[in-house]
């Protein structure tokens, strides 16, 4: 066995890419959890606001933020599966 082949075997043995993938997955799950928490809080805030007035700019802003949060969650979930 040549030195390069031996080193490839050693590299595979010590391969850290699997660990890195795992850490990335864990991070993404945490991010999804945080984003979902923010989304839930925002939804509750919007429900309260809708009972008072839905036409104010603040409500419109909240609905835009909600759309963005949903998009981010969707993308994060996609990343967590593909990674």
């Amino acid at each position: 066995m040549g030195t390069n082949k031996l080193m490839d075997k050693l590299n595979n043995f010590f391969d850290l890419s699997e660990n890195k993938q795992k850490t990335k997955q864990e991070k993404l799950l945490k991010i999804i959890h945080k984003l979902e928490e923010k989304k839930t809080a925002l939804e509750q805030k919007m429900i309260k606001q809708s009972e008072i007035d839905e036409t104010i700019p603040a409500y419109h802003e909240m609905s835009e933020e909600l759309k963005v949060l949903s998009k981010l969650i969707k993308k994060a979930k996609k990343h967590s599966i593909s990674d």
């Binding site: 031996l6 990335k24 990343h79």
Partner: protein, 588 residues
């Protein structure tokens, strides 16, 4: 003619000396091998630590005691005060830490270097370390074939340790055989005359070898083999400490102001410590005798006692000098003042930064923020806005209403003379520092390069916008003025949002959400304005020329907003996993 022959002549004499003298050859070869080992260890730790050393040095230096502790630990682990110094100078240049913290690290690093003496006197002399040296070299060389930088680094550390151990073994053998023919101990000198002579020897040896650790290794092996007297060895150790400052000062002559400031701090520290050690050398010797049993050091084990002496006098030095750190920092700041910076000059990128991946990235990020600030200034002025108004609490409509006078500014000139040169330096630094980085580092650099390019493009875009803005601001058609004011309002809201993000101290998820919301708003604003222009054309309120100018300028404004918001993600969101969620992240 004679001058040119001096160096080759010295080499020839030196070659004759080492060829004709077996024992000297063994000792000098030991020193050379030891130095190669230090070199390998230093380079190995750079690769092996993968930025961990830099992270520790940056994070755990908030107070002087912490900085001293971190400097001690970092130097004790990597066995190289010069590596720690290089990193600290690069941190100072990139403004990652302040001078007070850096001086603290230098103090701690001085105590850290004393661990070499412990290593040599305990492992180096007590066990047959050459037996361990060879396997280390073998495994180190095998690991050099690895494709992963961290294993290559670990391999270099093993080779370094192997060579250091081998070097010590050679020195020890050399001194032992030398003793059979020549007893250097016969030249021992008593009293203060001996102290001064040997301090001078220690200092000169360190200046010549350029390593106090190597000098300490020689002193300890010579002492252990009985070639030098104990009190003379103590003086040599003080000399090594003084000599290392000369090396640092010579090295700093070509360095930037931060390097010079640290070298002078190092010099002051070692001179004060050295003076103290000289005055109290006999008292310190007694203190070592008193403390030796506490560390289970036998009274006849002079090598270990020397290591203890070396540590004690450096610790005392820190205790003496550390309370005056702030005064010293003020003095150093007045001694080497920052030069007035030209407008198109880089602020954070220095040569010291390039080779250290984590610091290079941090410096490049800071320089890109500097580029952003410069570009923001140009864009704001081109849009007849002042930054203090943009970032005030005043409502946007009021800000726009108040600032309607054209600001005399040549954006093209600013772009050519300031922005472009700054961008060019960022690209140059990125390209050079990329060669020292792994895959992840390269990805981060690519992102920063892309960001810098986006930022300068916003200045190019605003040049077109400015021409029309100033032309139509003189128009009697209120509708056109109102539309241009709307574009200006759009840019102010983007600037304010980015500033909010910069000042925000919460979750990065929130930062990204805020930026993404602003991107959506900007898109909506573009669509809304295009509809308005369509309506104005239909209602015959603007002619086709004005309409085409407005449509182009809506495109420019939206483009500037989009590019700045994308740049904000790279510059102010640190976590890669969060950044990658951004809309069109990484796309040009």
């Amino acid at each position: 003619m004679f001058k040119r022959l001096i160096v080759p002549l010295i080499f020839l004499v030196f070659a004759w000396f080492i060829i004709s003298n077996n024992d000297a050859r063994t000792i000098i070869a030991g020193i050379a091998i030891f130095l190669i080992g230090m070199h390998y260890m230093e380079n190995g730790f750079r690769l092996f630590s993968g930025g961990a050393l830099e992270t520790v040095l940056e994070k755990f230096t908030s107070t002087t005691p912490k900085a001293i502790g971190t400097g001690f630990l970092a130097t004790a682990v990597v066995q190289s005060s010069s590596l720690v110094s290089v990193i600290i100078i690069s941190f100072l240049s990139a403004e990652l830490i302040g001078l007070t913290q850096a001086v603290g690290v230098v103090f701690g690093s001085n105590i850290g270097t004393t661990t070499t003496a412990w290593l040599v006197s305990s492992f180096g002399l007590k066990i047959k370390i050459s037996q361990y040296a060879l396997p280390m070299l073998i495994f180190g060389v095998i690991m050099q074939f690895s494709k992963q930088l961290s294993y290559k680094g670990l391999g270099s550390v093993l080779i370094g340790l192997g060579f250091i151990f081998l070097g010590i073994a050679y020195m020890k053998d050399g001194f032992e055989t030398l003793k059979q023919g020549l007893d250097l101990a016969e030249y021992a000198m008593e009293g203060y005359l001996g102290v001064f002579v040997y301090i001078l020897f220690g200092a000169v040896a360190t200046v010549v070898i350029q390593s106090s650790s190597a000098t300490m290794a020689i002193i300890i092996t010579a002492l252990a083999t009985g070639q030098i007297d104990y009190i003379n060895a103590l003086s040599l150790a003080i000399g090594a400490n003084v000599g290392t400052t000369v090396t640092a000062v010579i090295g700093a002559l070509a360095s930037n102001k931060n390097g010079k400031r640290l070298a002078v701090a190092h010099f002051i520290f070692n001179i004060i410590t050295g003076l103290f050690a000289v005055v109290f050398i006999y008292r310190l010797k007694e203190l070592v005798d008193f403390l030796a049993p506490v560390f289970s050091i036998a009274s006849s084990d002079y090598a270990m006692k020397l290591a203890l002496f070396h540590t004690i006098f450096n610790v005392v030095g820190v205790l003496l000098v550390a309370p005056f750190t702030n005064r010293m920092v003020r003095f150093l700041e007045t001694l080497f003042q920052a030069k007035e910076m030209g407008r198109g000059q880089v602020k954070y990128l220095t040569d010291e930064v390039m080779e250290i991946p984590a610091t290079a990235l941090a410096a490049l990020r800071k320089e890109s923020i500097h580029l952003y600030d410069k570009s923001l200034e140009a864009i704001a002025h081109a849009m007849n806005l002042h930054r203090h108004e943009i970032f005030s609490e005043t409502a946007i409509s009021e800000v726009i209403g108040q600032s309607n006078k054209p600001i005399a500014i040549d954006v093209d000139k600013i772009y050519q003379q300031e922005i472009k040169s700054l961008y060019g330096e960022i690209i140059r630094y990125s390209s050079i520092s990329q060669s020292y980085m792994d895959q992840e580092g390269n990805k981060a650099i690519y992102e920063l390069k892309l960001t810098a390019r986006r930022i300068i493009e916003t200045v190019k875009d605003v040049r077109e916008l400015q021409k029309n803005l100033n032309y139509y601001s003189k128009s009697h058609n209120d509708v056109i003025i109102e539309k241009y004011n709307k574009l200006r309002s759009q840019l102010v809201s983007v600037f304010r949002k980015i500033q909010q993000v910069r000042d925000f101290e919460g979750d990065e998820e929130d930062i990204l959400t805020q930026i993404e919301v602003q991107k959506v708003k900007s898109k909506e604003h573009e669509a809304e304005m295009n509809h308005e222009i369509d309506a104005l054309i239909r209602e015959n309120k603007i002619d086709s020329n004005t309409a085409s100018s407005l449509i182009n300028d809506i495109g420019f404004t939206h483009g500037i907003s989009k590019k700045l918001l994308k740049s904000a993600v790279t510059l102010w969101v640190k976590e890669d996993e969060i950044k990658e969620l951004g809309d069109e992240y990484g796309h040009e």
